[in-house]
Symmetry: C2
Subunit: 250 residues, 2 copies
């Protein structure tokens, strides 16, 4: 790990967490380096567009370079292109929000979202991270990862009781993962957010790895057990079709 690169990237992280901007001194304190060091790092980042000063403020914020980089990354994530039509249909058929996520480290990242009601998307979840243990998508992925990898991830989970319904111990989670593996879909019964219920299913890539997952999300009153009996087959079918499109056999 190269010290100066690591510090530069740490700065980006600080700025991500402080989107209103940070000054040189604040950053030098957070990093525990001299002001001149922080200043030099910022100049390097600024040169490449990753941070910028706005107007005549002397605070730095994340730069527009990230919008450009995001363009390339999403353009080349072909799961997005492949999955798009499928998740649009699923959203239309269920009338609910559909999310597509990918496993990334010990969390999931939302990589696409479709809601049929409106075209607004700027403030969607896309790009947000979420936990594995209390989301339908996360549990679907965990349940279908090979045992060794799943164990590794489960061991690292730091459970937080986000709602009264959140599972907060490994035993309860293990039991549920077994059920998910049998049923081939997962629930999130207000475990992540009160009043919100989701059903999820894993998507397998051409290596047979449950790299992605799909979910249908809605408020409690529109996600009763009877209604879910309608949604779940559609969800499972969509996930299966996407997996097949990604080159997954069987």
């Amino acid at each position: 790990m190269i010290q100066s690169v690591d510090r530069a990237l740490q700065i980006l992280e600080f700025l991500r967490k402080n989107p209103r901007g940070l000054g040189v001194t604040e950053i030098s304190i957070s990093l525990q380096v001299a002001k001149s060091t922080a200043h030099r790092l910022l100049m390097s980042l600024e040169e490449h567009g990753y941070v910028q000063k706005f107007g005549r403020e002397s605070t730095y914020r994340l730069g527009l370079k990230f919008i450009e980089m995001n363009y390339t990354v999403t353009k080349n994530l072909n799961v997005l292109e492949i999955a798009r039509p499928f998740i649009e249909s699923l959203s239309k058929e269920t009338g609910e929000i559909v999310h597509l996520v990918t496993l990334e480290g010990q969390e999931i990242i939302y990589i696409d979202k479709v809601e049929n009601s409106s075209t607004i998307r700027i403030y969607s979840q896309i790009g947000r991270r979420g936990p594995l243990y209390c989301t339908a998508v996360g549990k679907s992925i965990l349940a279908f990862l090979d045992e060794r990898e799943a164990k590794k991830l489960v061991d690292k989970i730091e459970f937080a009781r986000l709602t009264d319904y959140t599972l907060v111990n490994r035993e309860a989670l293990a039991t549920e993962l077994a059920t998910i593996k049998k049923d081939k879909y997962s629930y999130d019964n207000q475990e992540h957010e009160m009043g919100i219920r989701c059903v999820g299913a894993p998507i397998f890539d051409h290596n047979g790895r449950p790299q992605y997952a799909l979910s249908v999300t809605g408020p409690l009153d529109r996600m009763s057990d009877e209604i879910l009996q309608h949604h779940i087959p559609l969800l499972k079918d969509t996930a299966k079709k996407i997996s097949r499109s990604l080159g997954y056999i069987n």
Copy 2:
């Protein structure tokens, strides 16, 4: 400029230009450094999620971290939120694609796009860069920047004849910029892409700077002079409304 940080960010640039992935050796050659140096830089970037290896390939690509960073950046670019409803109306009224761009260095970056026909957006222009001298949005911004800054930018332009209609000399551009300043809107008559015609107008931020611009884009047959006589007042009005919402007085 810190050498190692600069090199690390250069690697990201190489990967952006080679989205199919690059190996350690290829990168070390591009950077003109030892393989071990390239390797160490890549490990630092990988640690933070900015690059990653896919599957069992040994080539690196841009990482999903950029999706996460993009989320924060766009969320805090409040011009997007403010402009959204206006550009949606404009798209509905004109029936054409509407783009929102921001000035960034010597180019524009597309930061939002609305097309009323479909919800597809993944492969939109958002995040792409474009030139100042042959786009309606670019010319609108150039025309209204204060003289000193405009001159700086115009002097740096490297003209490329993208189509038969592209303006490729400073004199012709200067004449047109004067017209734009008088009319308060700009044309792109197939200057950037054959068969595509655009009209653009500047958006002023609270400092009175034409930081953003707006355009209506369509194929030649739907963008005749008569039709444009209908679109242009709507465009100018929309740009004015957004400017006012951003705090621009007068």
